[in-house]
Amino acid sequence: MKKLVTLLAAGAALTGAAAAQDLAVINGRVVTNTDQGQIENGGVLIRDGVIVSVGASIDVPDGIEVIDADGGWITPGIFAPVTQLGLIEVGAESSTSDSSASDSDFSVALDVEDSFNPNGTYLATSRMEGITRFAIVPSTGHNLFGGRGALGETSGSMDALFDTQSFVFADLSQSGASRAGGSRAAAWAFLEAAFGDARAYPGRYSSGHGDALGRYDAAALVDVVRGRIPLILEVDRATDIRRAIRFAAENVPVQIVIYGGAEAWIVAEELASSGIPVLIDPMRNLPSSFDALGSTLEAAARLDAAGVTVAYTTQTASGYFNPRLLPQHAGNAVTNGVSWDSAFRAITLTPAEIYGVGDQYGALAPGYLADVVVWDGDPLEVMSAPSHVIIDGDQTDLTSRQTRLRDRYADMDDTTPFAYRD
């Protein structure tokens, strides 16, 4: 059925008909993520999948479909900056996992676009919780590079990826050091050598081998070395983060993004002045390793106070199953000292900006693509949930395999055999 929908949509596009609905969402607290701030009671007008107006009073054209938020909240869709949605269906079953490739000869060249499954069942469960956009980050395998990531949306479309080869992931933490041969020094030497290979690509490979990377991997790293796409570096220890800052300064125009960042707050000033963004899980507060002894619930507020660009992750939850918990993680940042607006921005507009799409996603403003979520309460409260999720201007289905199971087993008194129920 999903295939059919895709075909119909493609057919509609060919005939020039508008696929996206025109919609007005009214009567809610509007979180804009712009200078407009929060509008206590307002709405959003969507035409052809694009937001055309946002305000306390919007002109609703006759005949247009209206969604009444009923005093709830109207926000941009949640953007989960680090996930493995669509890469893994059942964690322990390697036959269902496409997140890493330890036995491959390749690393940077691996492209998650080829692994991503838009029919994975956790796209729907994420969408139901208000996640509309996400980045797919591959895990490391052959060496400390995981490969090239992509950006997707959760509508369930077979064409869910809206940006591919969007960034490269590398692990420079203790586990990356282990992969590189056993020490941090080995990891950074490998990274330096890999950059050298990419800079010298293709010339170096016409007559010989790279120092660190094979030809395909070096080719795939060129966009990173030239600063066209970000390099996401997983590091936790404060000294490793300083090393990454230095690496960025020595390798202009590379764009570094720190992921993990357990001790980033310790070097917050340097991060702020270097402009390097950090992707952290605000709920991470255990000294889970000797790299992360400084983990604390205060981290998000301290980074915020220092002016560091911060987006939130669900690093401590499962990356393929529970990115949907991102609003809870942001809510806990608020509980521990971050302002509500800042925390909400860290799961919407800021991640979009980090991935270079902040002019299209993450805010409710004219010209932005219409990812709009209507909630029955404060979206950062654990008891709230979306009542409507609009992606690219289309209302989406808020059911999943999980809700189907729920409904099948909801009534223990019904005598219909379970397998004959819906």
Binding site: M283, P287, S288, Y320, N332, Q402, T403
Partner: protein
């Protein structure tokens, strides 16, 4: 099922073996009368690693003006609680402060019983998770009923203090789930201490961790040994119960008639299983799938023991009728799943559906982060349940992290609810505990303030001291 921890304590205090058959309380006296009369009677100490827990000094304290959830289904607006000698001496409205009492104004705030986590690996899989700290699972043979996880618990795990900041006052530490019989669990007060003995809940029963399904089959099947399948798992449990039954009969024969029946040779593994058959050790069974739980229920009836709780119970919502009928609780997550096939059918309404269909339900963490926010986990499950139309009060849902785990741990006479005479294990929350924005402001254990956010009262483990993160929450 005999969950009478007081009887257990009494027997321990008398230095006697709990020889009561089938969990009935009739034999206590006759065993006692045997004591000293018969020189050939072989006994052994059931409590060789006794609790040395001593509550911290506490003041007579009146907490006033809060919204109180008592843990057993009641909500009291503008309520007061009086703590005397570490116990709750009164609860209600308009209580009078005794002379000299410390008065805590909790107006606008919320009170619940101390949070109880029935499934934790704090101390046996502690932070930091380095090689030396993997102390939770003796994966050397499928039946390790002989190990006691208290012998693995590292009291300096920094996770205990983080859990306290989330309101946790009592927790069960369990062995891992790679074995059919993982060994004994231990129930702890969440108090910073030098030794596990100083944390052990006085008089709490011992528990036995068992595990269904993929984990044991994967661990041992992967080594080319049994069990390699679900049916191998069942055969492994049943063979062990048969041996345990013989062992128990031999001991009981000996105690009943030592002149004609010599004592069997002590066997640590069978000691634990005998404790289950005698109703003194509570089975905590890791099981995900509905059909697996149904097999275990039949097995428990085959051998005459009671399962106290199924842990994880991802498919418990499919069989609430079977659970209610067998009087077995389910300890579950709010929204974890997908990590293996037997966790594939997870739904967010599991906890609420189990409860609504009349079975005993509770949250559990199995995780050093989730244990810090079990109130939020319950809130998620409650809101999802309500959204599908289940009518469950806030006060009832509070039982999911308080009295229901106390019941499944056999300590409900002592903690898990705010009732006169109970231990004063109390959390004052800054806001409704089902709000993301609620902090545990103050945590009392046995009436003593063990954590207080405003004044900075908090434990700092030896591991944390002198480290970068010292004192941070």
């Amino acid at each position: 099922m005999s969950l009478d921890w007081k009887r257990w304590t009494a027997l321990l205090a008398a230095g006697l073996l709990a020889a009561c058959s089938n969990g009935q309380d009739s034999d206590t006296d006759s065993v006692a009368s045997d004591d000293g009369d018969d020189a050939d009677l072989v006994r052994f100490d059931l409590d060789p690693y006794p609790s040395t827990y001593t509550p911290q000094p506490s003041d007579t304290t009146l907490i006033t003006g809060a919204t109180i959830f008592d843990g057993v289904g009641n909500e009291i607006e503008n309520g007061d609680i009086l703590i005397e000698n570490g116990r709750i001496s009164a609860i209600g409205q308009g209580l009078e402060a005794p002379e000299g009492a410390n008065v805590v104004n909790a107006a606008g705030r919320f009170i619940t019983p101390g949070v109880i986590d029935i499934h934790s690996h704090l101390g046996n899989y502690p932070s930091p998770s380095v090689d030396a700290h993997s102390d939770g699972n003796e994966l050397t043979q499928p039946n390790t009923a002989e190990v006691w996880t208290e012998h693995s618990v590292w009291p300096q795990d920094p996770g205990f203090a983080r859990a306290l900041a989330g309101g946790v006052t009592t927790l069960q530490i369990l062995p891992g789930s790679g074995n059919l019989f993982g060994g004994r669990g231990v129930i702890l007060r969440n108090v910073a201490a030098r030794t596990v003995q100083e944390m052990k809940f006085p008089g709490a029963p011992y528990t036995l961790k068992m595990a269904c399904g993929e984990n044991p089959a994967r661990v041992y099947g992967g080594r080319g040994s049994s069990p390699a399948t679900d049916m191998g798992n069942m055969a492994g449990y049943r063979a062990a119960w048969i041996r345990a039954r013989d062992y128990r009969d031999s001991w009981h024969d000996h105690w009943d008639d030592p002149d004609n029946n010599s004592a069997p040779t002590r066997d640590l593994e069978l000691d634990t299983l005998m404790g289950v058959l005698d109703g003194d050790i509570l089975v905590q069974m890791h099981c995900y799938r509905a059909d697996q739980m149904a097999q275990v229920i039949d097995m428990s009836q085959e051998f005459g023991y009671q399962v106290s709780a199924f842990h994880h119970g991802v498919e418990a919502y499919k069989i609430p009728d079977l659970l209610a009928e067998a009087d077995i609780c389910a300890a579950v997550w709010a929204d974890w799943g997908g990590f293996k096939m037997e966790a594939y059918d997870t739904i967010r309404e599991n906890l609420a559906l189990i409860h609504a269909n009349g079975a005993c339900a509770m949250i559990h963490s199995d995780n050093a982060l989730n244990i810090q926010r079990l109130n939020q986990e319950v809130a998620k499950a409650l809101s999802d349940g309500r959204r599908m139309g289940l009518d469950i009060s806030d006060a009832d849902a509070v039982s999911w992290f308080t009295s229901n785990p106390a019941r499944a741990l056999g300590i409900a006479d002592e903690t898990g609810s705010l009732e006169t005479g109970k231990r004063a294990d109390i959390v004052i929350w800054s806001a409704h505990p089902f709000s993301t924005y609620a902090h545990a402001d103050t945590v009392f254990i046995d009436g003593a303030v063990m954590f207080d956010r405003a004044s900075g009262v908090q434990p700092i483990s030896d591991f944390d001291i002198g480290q970068i993160g010292e004192g941070d929450d």
